[in-house]
Symmetry: C2
Subunit: 242 residues, 2 copies
Amino acid sequence: MEPGAERRPRLNRDGVLRAAVSLADEIGIEALSMRRLADELGVVPMALYKHVANKEELLDGMVEVIVGEIDPPSGSADWRTAVRERVLSARRALRRHAWARQAMETRTTKTPAVLDYMDSFIGMFQAGGFSIDLTHHVMHAIGGRMWGFTQELFDDAPRPGAAPSPALPPEAQAAMMQQMAARYPNILAVAMASAHEDSAVGQGCDDQFEFEFALDVLLDGFERLHEQGWTSAAARRRATAG
Amino acid sequence: MEPGAERRPRLNRDGVLRAAVSLADEIGIEALSMRRLADELGVVPMALYKHVANKEELLDGMVEVIVGEIDPPSGSADWRTAVRERVLSARRALRRHAWARQAMETRTTKTPAVLDYMDSFIGMFQAGGFSIDLTHHVMHAIGGRMWGFTQELFDDAPRPGAAPSPALPPEAQAAMMQQMAARYPNILAVAMASAHEDSAVGQGCDDQFEFEFALDVLLDGFERLHEQGWTSAAARRRATAG
DNA sequence: ACCTGAACACCGTTCAAGT
DNA sequence: ACCTGAACACCGTTCAAGT
């Protein structure tokens, strides 16, 4: 070992991700670079590439860490408190890391932890007796609010410059479906149902419909509150009383 | 003029912004660099800095261009169709530029075009007879949906690394208030009202309250639809019939 | 198996200089 | 008033080499 070199444990993927998370907490996401992170770990930049394919994967991994901090479903009796508690737990997790929201909004990759969360989230509505149809649209409407902030969900409009995903051979696609079905049964159920829906655009989601659905739920709610003479003071009183 | 140099009109701020917008349309926001933009304009990178202070300001300017494409309020009789039409117009504007949503989510600067839009948006609820109190929370709840996508609004948690805004002398602050009051009366009214509200955290917005307000409006709506046996097919029929 | 060094093709932005 | 050239301090990532 070089004189003056710091003793440090061997790097591994998890350590790299954790270091990245706390470095981003400190200096912000836009200042986080592969080189800066390597510095922090007392290592040459290229050493990171043994544990993470590139910066994109680093960011995806960081998001995974945060999503992993969200509490599992509480097993509450009614769907409504279950959903509510889960969302507020997600919100607390996101709030611990100021950069996390922006990172999640930018990254569109659905990593395993993200899919797990979505799947169990769908499960809460299903347990409440929601039809798959309504569950589907409700998931769109709650969107990023599911994460403790607000964001359009399932939104993966191809961005210019993004490489088209290479077509997989059919047998590979089938194998992937099998895996999906085993691990994310609820996501699959929703996806299957919406494929058969007689939507205006045929298969896939009708973005415009989803957007207007959520908008109208909000507008309906606003209208009702307005008619009822809602005030924040009364709402706060009710909250602290209940 | 150099032989082979292209004849081009003199640069100005608007031309730079417009070029940036259509270049981003073409190559995506993450590939847009000052150098690439300069190239596109047949100019050396540093020439841009006469018209735009830095890249941040370029991005803010690009957002301004897009926000300027949103239709003015339709002057509809009821607040609800006015709001609805405006949001859908915003959505169309944003959809014309795939990068715009991400840019707006990243940029937190409230530029004049953004403030104009927010102010007239508040005005639509006011015209519908909403209390300032309800208007305030409703604006939070609709959040980025106001822009044709979903986003937490008024959210300017200071990011690490961001320079604290230099304190202005009191007379300068007073002058700014005067200008604000003249140009954005509705924003000011909401801001004043929420400052006096007996919120849990005192002055400023209670983020948690706003978040739960919006969440509960959505959950109330979901509950109602669930109880009523809502189906997307019926909703579509009603939409096309009406 | 893991880490290093040097190199490549990029960034945003400064400063002093040109017309 | 507007544009240029050269330079600085950064990026992410490659490749071939070390232990």
